[in-house]
């Protein structure tokens, strides 16, 4: 397929179509609405299911029902809508049915705004719904990666009978750039042996998340934890840039990681030996790889479009072995490469310590006027 000039939301929708999505249920919310709109004509055109639900609560439960039949199903939303889906996601996790959710993240908390943000990291990566479960969360940094990860999401969801999410900050959903769509795949031709699709010539099947006997619920929790360990062992994804001889490492995902790459290149031009580590799977998190980087580098700069939600996971991986600094733009603001470049220079030139809280130092620099927001 040739490269086309594609908007992220359309591209993710069409990628899902080509990955064989059979049913889509969603609700309008900026900045993901184009995805819903694309599905509204594309799915019926292919005799597949599209339904605009009355709310995100209904949409996720329609997904739940459709997923129980063994179909490849998905929904998409943006932050406040994803908050509403958390109930359904917990039930889906409690039933082990596969599904895909694309979250085009906007500024929050509350109604917030419709500008790009990474404020849903904790909501997606660390659960959000009640109970113990782990979704797979993938973070694209370009339209092309959004396409590729959408296709992958369906495969991972089916492989592990697990929730698989794309965390695309608003800029990934809204921006246009050249990208290549995959070939159209044939639709699923078999039905999984757990699907509730009518008990013709077989015994009854029940799909439920209730295990009223705590001893059985304990066994179930162990079971999905085992699945999670298999996912951790096999599905860690990340990209490394200029890390071979790097003395300093920038860590950022999605749009923040992409902007950091420009800053890293500019810093290299100034002679600073710095590289970029960009996690793609936020869950499972590449903690071991980051721990290794901590052993060979003199300092780490974490940059995000939230107030340091991934920073906590990086600190947990680094275990105080190396100084960490933090820089973020939040509330729907995307950083400029020069802002991150300034932080790289500071990391390379100023004395640093592995003690203290990088987030508090960042806030103090803001208050002291050391950082001026552009």
């Amino acid at each position: 397929m040739a490269k086309e000039f594609l908007e992220g939301n359309f591209a993710m929708a069409e990628a899902a179509v080509r990955a064989g999505v059979e049913a889509y249920f969603g609700y309008p919310i900026t900045p993901q609405t184009e995805l819903l709109e694309w599905m509204s004509h594309r799915m019926p055109e292919l005799n597949r299911v599209f339904l605009q639900a009355e709310s995100e609560v209904a949409a996720i439960n329609m997904v739940y029902g459709a997923a129980c039949t063994g179909a490849r199903v998905m929904t998409s939303s943006s932050s406040p809508g994803v908050s509403l889906m958390m109930e359904g996601l917990s039930y889906i996790a409690g039933t082990e049915v596969p599904m895909v959710l694309i979250d085009v993240v906007r500024g929050g908390p509350g109604l917030g705004n419709i500008a790009p943000s990474q404020g849903d990291y904790n909501q997606l990566v660390h659960g959000g719904g009640h109970g113990d479960y782990h979704p797979i969360v993938l973070a694209p940094a370009s339209v092309q990666e959004a396409i590729d990860l959408t296709v992958l999401a369906f495969d991972l969801a089916a492989k592990y009978r697990n929730i698989c999410m794309l965390m695309a900050d608003g800029s990934i959903g809204q921006m246009m750039e050249p990208a290549e769509l995959p070939e159209m795949r044939p639709l699923r031709s078999t039905t999984p042996d757990w699907a509730t699709d009518g008990c013709k010539d077989r015994e009854q099947r029940i799909l439920t998340s209730i295990l009223i006997d705590p001893t059985l619920e304990e066994i179930y929790n162990h079971k999905i934890l085992d699945t999670w360990y298999r996912i951790q062992a096999n599905e860690i994804r990340y990209k490394e840039y200029y890390l071979d001889d790097a003395e300093y490492v920038v860590i950022g995902f999605g749009t923040a990681g992409r902007i950091a790459l420009t800053a890293v290149r500019n810093a290299r031009a100034e002679g600073i030996k710095v590289g970029l580590f960009r996690p793609i799977s936020l869950s499972p998190f590449p903690a071991q790889q980051i721990e290794e980087l901590a052993k060979t580098s003199q300092g780490i700069l974490v940059t995000e479009m939230n107030t340091g939600q991934m920073l906590d996971d990086v600190r947990s991986a680094v275990k105080g072995k190396v100084p960490i600094e933090f820089y973020a733009r939040v509330g729907g603001i995307v950083p400029y490469p020069d802002e991150i470049l300034g932080e790289i220079r500071r990391l390379a030139q100023e004395p640093k310590s592995a003690d203290g809280d990088p987030r508090q130092r960042w806030m103090q620099r803001l208050k002291d006027g050391v950082i001026t927001l552009s």
Partner: protein, 260 residues
């Protein structure tokens, strides 16, 4: 000559194939068991057991799937109509029904039931209205009668502060998407027979693609009403029916000539 011995035995009553042998967890005297049996008889008679996927609610019927022999899923509280929509849209040739109580359907699931009816989703809802929350132990429901005592309306439901009971069949039958909506009761044999005919007709409406169908079944909860079984049947007849009349609220012309 000796009188010939009668050897031919005719089975007049047996367990429907759609009903499992599992003993229910329902309280003695509860009408859930009757509703379950009526559904099973209808699915047997229509020979659609293997083509049916049902959605269980949160409430006393949360384990309904244990008492039948076909496929079930278990919804979050109130979300059964949305889940049923997902199943039906993917598998339009299957029979899909939800089984929901008054708290599930008329309180927390109000949005989902309104929209499934408005969309004319081709599913069937069996709505158990016993005017109280059963599983959590007798709290006020959206269908609790004015003055009725519950654990959260200990002095009786005061409509000034707690509002009025909801009439779901009346409301939902106003939507264009509704194909068949009736209210029946399970308090005596005559009404039970009428209820079965209504359930049969509701599934016929689904078979004919007539849109949303619902049978509201007035039911007893002798445990949480604090009554004997006999008293509760009488209370249903004397107190509930005047508020919730046994009536056909919507019968699509697509059912003309159909007799259950």
């Amino acid at each position: 000559m000796d009188t010939p011995v009668q050897t031919q035995v005719q089975t007049v009553y047996s367990r429907p194939k759609s009903l499992s042998r599992t003993p229910t967890h329902y309280c003695p005297g509860c009408t859930h068991g009757i509703a379950h049996r009526l559904i099973a008889e209808v699915l047997d008679e229509m020979d659609i057991r293997e083509k049916t996927v049902a959605v269980a609610p949160v409430g006393c019927a949360v384990f309904a799937y244990n008492y039948f022999t076909f496929d079930w899923v278990e919804a979050a509280h109130g979300r059964a109509p949305a889940m049923a929509t997902g199943i039906k849209r993917v598998l339009p040739d299957r029979f899909v029904f939800t089984y929901q109580g008054d708290g599930d359907l008329a309180s927390i699931g109000m949005s989902e039931i309104m929209h499934v009816a408005a969309r004319g989703e081709n599913i069937t809802v069996i709505f158990i209205n016993n005017a109280i929350y059963g599983m959590t132990g007798g709290q006020m429901a959206p269908t609790t009668l004015p003055g009725q005592k519950t654990t959260t309306s200990p002095n009786g439901r005061d409509v000034e502060t707690m509002g009025y009971p909801l009439h779901m069949s009346e409301v939902l039958s106003r939507w264009d998407g509704a194909g068949y909506i009736v209210r029946r009761s399970l308090h005596d044999p005559k009404n039970i027979r009428m209820a079965k005919k209504a359930i049969r007709t509701a599934f016929e409406a689904q078979k004919r693609g007539l849109g949303f169908s619902m049978v509201e079944l007035l039911s007893t909860c002798n445990t949480n009403w604090g009554m004997t079984v006999q008293e509760s049947l009488k209370w249903l007849e004397e107190r509930m029916i005047p508020v919730y009349p046994i009536q056909d609220f919507k019968v699509s012309s697509g059912l003309d000539g159909f007799k259950a």
